[in-house]
């Protein structure tokens, strides 16, 4: 847990599971329901993204979870407790809520905004004060500086951070986010997304996040629910599975072009097999270097500097041409990737390298291994294959639940209430 919450002596609440069962919203006068029979299970501590075209009912579905919009049918269970009929005010205090353009109250200071929910739940003053500081810290704003500011004195990104801090202030197990980063510029959005990933790493809340940006969904989601009109689930699966095996044309249309390339963003270099190149250091005697080159399958070795960082690529002929001087021989290593780099970064590096390989380095820049075109392609194929299998399984499950639903619909209302 973060050290900040250890300081105040309370352990943070982790996520709770959410179950939606045949959730339906029908507006009076509407021919079709706005949200039709959505069933979904969200595991505790999971980040689930609702993604779909505008007007598909994803926001409506989200707002039914904290009953800002009352469902006309179906049940909602949070952590096993049926919350469909409890007092909505009580429900909402257990469920954090962050919206686009932050929704901060302009007449209250940052601290007052964050303190709202703890105050309503009746926390003692001292604890609220500490909590406000802690939350500001958590979202990366200096408490001393931002405490007394009014929302209009903050930038869009800062407002959004405060919005998230307010949503998390009373430590709810569930966090609902309705296009929270929709109104900020792309660079800030990227930052905020990274922040959210970091936060979630610390907090393990159950997050339901609505967006229409599929790339955002891939970046943030443990699982993504692609929704089509009336909130019908087109596919509900991991980003990997959706990218490699979209359930139908609708989903693949939404995924957009370059699914395989997007897939590369989801895997890190440390997850693929690296090649071990023969290496020598600057202090190695020349004779030994010759032997090493001859012994290597590729006729090439990697020269490391004193701190074991990749320095130069040496080929067989290089030393001859340089007349045995290590200082003049070989080509400098100009690009390396870390183990945490995405495969996309690695591919980029491999493509720009004239010999089609890139050295992988550890935390202090020391040599770990080499990735080349062939290993990349092999690992990507393996990944895609594995994804495909997984997706097919998930697809099968989804079809089963759909078949059940159709069955219930045909059985009429009797069948529905039985379920």
């Amino acid at each position: 847990m973060s050290e900040t919450s250890a300081r105040t002596g309370d352990t943070a609440t982790h996520g709770a599971s959410i179950e939606l069962e045949n959730l339906t919203k029908r507006y009076p006068g509407g021919q079709q329901p706005a949200v039709d029979n959505v069933s979904m299970e969200i595991k505790a501590g999971e980040t689930v993204i609702f993604v779909g075209p505008s007007g598909c009912g994803k926001s409506t579905t989200l707002k039914m979870i904290n009953r800002l919009i009352e469902p006309t049918g179906g049940r909602i269970r949070i952590d096993g407790e049926d919350v469909t009929d409890i007092d909505p005010v009580r429900l909402r205090r257990k469920v954090g809520y962050a919206i686009q353009s932050s929704g901060l109250f302009p007449h209250m200071t940052v601290a007052q905004n964050i303190a709202l929910v703890p105050k309503m739940t009746g926390w003692p003053k001292k604890r609220i004060r500490d909590r406000v500081e802690e939350m500001l810290d958590l979202v990366g704003l200096d408490p001393g500086e931002f405490h007394g500011r009014y929302p209009r004195q903050l930038s869009g990104g800062q407002q959004q951070r405060v919005g998230v801090a307010r949503a998390l202030a009373a430590d709810p197990p569930v966090l609902l986010m309705d296009e929270p980063f929709g109104a900020v510029d792309p660079i800030t959005r990227d930052h905020l997304q990274d922040e959210l990933i970091r936060l979630q790493h610390e907090l393990h809340k159950t997050i339901v996040f609505v967006t229409h940006d599929f790339d955002e969904a891939i970046k943030l989601g443990d699982r993504i629910a692609v929704l089509r009109e009336r909130s019908h689930i087109a596919q509900f699966d991991t980003p990997e599975a959706i990218l490699t095996n979209p359930a139908d044309d609708f989903v693949s249309g939404f995924v957009g072009a370059g699914a395989a390339l997007k897939r590369l963003n989801l895997t890190r270099v440390r997850d693929v097999e690296m090649q071990d190149y023969p290496t020598v250091t600057l202090d190695t005697p020349l004779q030994q270097i010759f032997t090493a080159i001859r012994g290597s399958g590729t006729n090439e070795i990697l020269l490391l500097d004193k701190r074991h960082r990749p320095y130069k690529w040496l080929r067989r002929g290089d030393l001859m041409r340089a007349k045995g001087s290590l200082a003049r021989a070989g080509t400098l290593v100009h690009d390396t990737v870390t183990r945490d780099a995405t495969l996309r970064d690695a591919l980029e590096a491999v493509l720009t390298d004239n010999a089609g390989r890139v050295a992988v380095t550890g935390r202090r820049g020391e040599y770990i291994g080499v990735v080349d075109m062939e290993t990349l392609m092999n690992s990507v194929h393996e990944l895609l294959e594995a994804d495909r299998l997984e997706a097919m399984e998930a697809q099968h499950e989804l079809e089963e639940t759909r078949a059940q639903q159709t069955h219930q619909e045909q059985e009429g209302p009797g069948g529905v209430t039985k379920a």
Binding site: L116, Y150, P151
Partner: protein, 215 residues
Amino acid sequence: MTFWEYLGYRHQQLLADAYQHASAVFQCMVLATAIGVLVGVVTYRSDWAGNLATTATSTILTIPSLAMIGLLIPVVGLGVPPTVIALTLYGLLPIVRNAIVGLRGVDPALVDAARGIGMSGPMRLLRVELPLAWPPILTGIRVSTQMLMGIAAIAAYASGPGLGNEIFRGLASLGSKNALNQVLAGTLGIIILALLFDAAYVLIGRLTIPRGIRV
């Protein structure tokens, strides 16, 4: 007798009248504000109720004040009651209208956020909607007060309190030595009171409008 001599000679009576005038307007404003904001709060959510409230209060405003007070006399008698009733009714329109406009003008996203973080209805109204609607409401109160300052003068017709007595006395004795002085003293007194009240509202605005939404 010059105007200044008149003032010096009658200043006690004038101050008493001015005090009564101000006090009548102030009390009626408190009443009108309470009723006006309440009507606004009750009606702003529904289209027709809000329009009905605005139309009703503006209809009241179209009745000439002299006629209104005249009509009230047979019902409630002379003196303070018709004054208070008439002033309060006239004061309603700007307050009701600005309350409705202000409350409807609160960003729906903020109301949504307030609901979303678990505020109950009354809490939402008191902590979010009314504070955000307060600047336009205060403007309404200010306009109302200026208007009532003038209308309160008419209340003297029903033997009500205030500087109107001075004016009516002067008008009744036109041609006499002090007639002009009386009318002038009453009128100027009302203008001065109105300016003082306005200054007070600027101060109230400074003190009650949160810094975050002050323009």
